[in-house]
């Protein structure tokens, strides 16, 4: 299997086969990230496509320091963020009040039986603002200050959105877990 350095070199030389090799190796993982950041499959496809174009176009800036997967992951997340920024005025978070804070997750946490695909489905059901803040905070590890600057919201709004996202997620996880148990118990 060719080394990643050689593949990058080939990509920089414009070798289409090396570009395809790079894509085939990493597309599945990055597509999962795209799905995680988008509410529908078309948007996820667009993010993946634009993300890979950026990866190829900026390969010469990759300094071979740190993880190449991490570098590609950041580019895809930034692409998702740009997409979100360009659209966020179109979204409306109108279901906040439907989930009162006191109806949060059950006291006993039992997430057994939940698979990655279930988690992906749950996270994609979140309203875009909550999904973006939850992804950036809980999955990527950004601070509220950083998220505020990235998404162009205040730190307070970021905290509030995260809190709402967690409530929704906990509720949905419980629902999924209960459903799964019921199915298993017949």
């Amino acid at each position: 299997m060719p080394e990643i350095k050689n593949i990058i070199k080939g990509c920089l030389a414009g070798n289409r086969r090396d570009q395809e090799l790079l894509y085939r190796r990493h597309a599945a993982r990055l597509y999962a990230v795209c799905l995680q950041y988008s509410g529908n499959d078309d948007e996820a496809r667009d993010i993946l496509q634009e993300g890979f174009i950026k990866i190829f176009e900026n390969l010469s800036h990759y300094k071979h320091e740190g993880s190449f997967e991490g570098w590609m992951h950041r580019i895809v997340v930034n692409t998702a963020l740009e997409k979100y920024r360009s659209k966020h005025n179109l979204y409306r978070v109108d279901d906040i009040d439907l989930i009162p804070e006191q109806d949060a997750a059950p006291e006993t946490e039992d997430y057994a039986g939940l698979e990655a695909v279930d988690l992906l489905d749950i996270i994609r059901e979140l309203p875009p603002k909550y999904r973006m803040v939850f992804n950036l905070f809980a999955i990527e590890g950004y601070s509220h200050k950083e998220i505020g600057e990235m998404v162009n919201i205040s730190e307070g709004t970021s905290k509030s959105n995260l809190s709402r996202a967690r409530i929704i997620l906990q509720k949905k996880v419980s629902l999924y877990t209960g459903l799964k148990k019921n199915v298993l118990n017949g």
């Binding site: 990509c11 920089l12 030389a13 414009g14 570009q19 395809e20 894509y23 597309a27 599945a28 993982r29 597509y31 999962a32 799905l35 995680q36 496809r45 993946l48 496509q49 890979f52 174009i53 990866i55 190829f56 176009e57 900026n58 390969l59 010469s60 800036h61 949060a104 997750a105 946490e109 997430y111 939940l114 698979e115 990655a116 695909v117 988690l119 992906l120 996270i123 939850f134 905070f137 809980a138 999955i139 200050k145 505020g148 600057e149 990235m150 162009n152 205040s154 730190e155 307070g156 967690r166 997620l169 906990q170 996880v173």
Partner: protein
């Protein structure tokens, strides 16, 4: 509650880690990247420099090849046929003046003297290079064969040492002594007006997250330099040059959002509301009406952080997402110019130092094609010294006026800024062109 929150975060973080989903097959077909090479401007610049050097060397080679060809003298005919040993025609007066061994003409002499005997030819290899009497002077004094030898032609060439004659090419250095004396006695001074687009570069700062964050969104702008200079010819090949130039350079700092209309919200005291970290030093805002925010980093230092002030909610007018730093210098070069080739197209090596005085330091944003003042860059060195090296070409348009072209590389001996973190020394490349007047 906190634990529950952490649990849900961990559940998703760990659950989605390494999760893979195969994308639809058609996605790959739509990925057609245009590969961008790193530091494209530098590559273009290097190419331009290479072309300039190749151009210079090409002309140099052309001039050299012209020098090695047999010289044509309009006054005297030149035997282009094969050269074979030949004695000078027997002349009783000449025989007295020259020893028998010297009575063979050099090829250089053959260029100057055309003799009627076509069969009399000289062997180039057998040319005698002994110091001897001033043959031509004496010949002209003798006035022999005055119908063949043009006196003015003889007087213009004065060879007193045969060893100066190039035995390989068969010609003497026709540019030396007398011709140059006649040519060079007059025009020792020249006044030159030159200008150049200049591209500035700066070596990478020390590798750190902050350095990367600061330097990656910055681009050098193509700058201009121009002015007047005097040069004085010390000798045939050497001259010194000085004058006064104006140069304007700058940086474009991307991903900094600027907004107007902030003054009505500014209730704090202090000399500036915002600082922006750049490779040339921090930008301090002087305009109280401007609000700055970094799009994706921590380059803006301010009391008005995102949690304190939201420009969107305050309804500020968005200006642009780039800032432009401008620095203007008054420059006094002291250069030495060495003439490699002295023909109608001269080639010079130029090198020396320039003393630069900072006369303008400003930062602005652009809105609808007009400048919006932001502030200035702090900590800049007001006096800088740079070293330059260039290769100049000078083409004589007339006896007094010539056209100049000088690809020049410049390296600054002290940094732009006296702030430790911005201490990179820039370098630049420009192709100066202009006209010079000799007097």
């Amino acid at each position: 509650m906190v634990n529950k929150q952490a649990d849900i975060d961990l559940l998703f973080r760990n659950g989605l880690k390494d999760f893979e989903v195969l994308p639809p097959a058609e996605v790959w077909d739509h990925i057609r990247p245009a590969i961008r090479k790193k530091q494209q401007p530098v590559i273009l610049l290097r190419s331009a420099a290479l072309i300039a050097v190749l151009f210079s060397l090409g002309f140099l080679a052309y001039q050299m090849s012209r020098l090695s060809e047999p010289a044509q003298n309009p006054f005297l005919s030149f035997d282009q046929g094969p050269i074979r040993p030949r004695a000078l025609p027997s002349d009783p007066v000449l025989e007295k003046l020259m020893p028998a061994s010297d009575r063979q003409t050099s090829p250089a002499m053959q260029d100057q003297i055309s003799l009627p005997e076509p069969e009399a030819e000289l062997n180039n290899e057998e040319y005698i290079s002994q110091p001897g009497p001033d043959i031509f002077t004496e010949i002209s004094n003798l006035n022999f064969r005055s119908n063949i030898i043009t006196p003015s032609g003889i007087r213009s060439v004065r060879i007193t040492d045969y060893s100066k004659v190039n035995s390989a090419s068969g010609i003497g250095d026709l540019n030396s002594p007398a011709i140059d004396e006649i040519k060079g006695k007059t025009d020792r001074w020249s006044l030159t007006a030159m200008a150049s687009p200049t591209y500035y570069m700066r070596p990478d700062l020390a590798s750190s997250d902050m350095a990367d964050q600061v330097s990656s969104p910055e681009q050098s702008r193509i700058s201009y330099s121009g002015g007047l200079s005097f040069s004085y010819k010390i000798s045939k090949k050497l001259s010194i040059q000085s004058g006064l130039y104006y140069s304007s350079i700058g940086n474009k700092v991307d991903d900094i959002r600027s907004y107007a209309g902030f003054s009505r919200f500014d209730y704090t005291k202090g000399d500036h509301n915002f600082e922006v970290m750049t490779t040339s030093g921090p930008i301090f805002t002087s305009n109280p009406d401007v609000f700055l925010a970094d799009i994706g980093g921590d380059r803006v230092v301010t009391k008005y952080t995102n949690d304190v002030f939201d420009p969107g909610k305050a309804n500020l007018s968005y200006i642009n997402s780039s800032l432009f730093q401008n620095f203007s210098y008054l420059e006094m070069p002291v250069f030495v110019r060495y003439k490699l080739i002295d023909k109608s197209l001269d080639f010079n090596l130029v090198g020396g130092l320039s003393y630069n005085l900072l006369i303008n330091n400003s930062v602005h944003a652009m809105i609808d094609g007009s400048k919006y003042d932001v502030g200035k860059t702090a900590g800049l060195n007001s006096f800088m010294v740079s070293s330059s090296f260039g290769m100049g070409m000078e083409y004589s348009l007339s006896e007094k006026i010539s056209l100049n072209l000088e690809p020049t590389f410049r390296y600054y001996l002290n940094p732009f800024s006296n702030i430790q973190s911005s201490s990179a020394r820039p370098y630049s490349f420009g192709v100066f062109s202009g006209l010079s007047y000799r007097f």
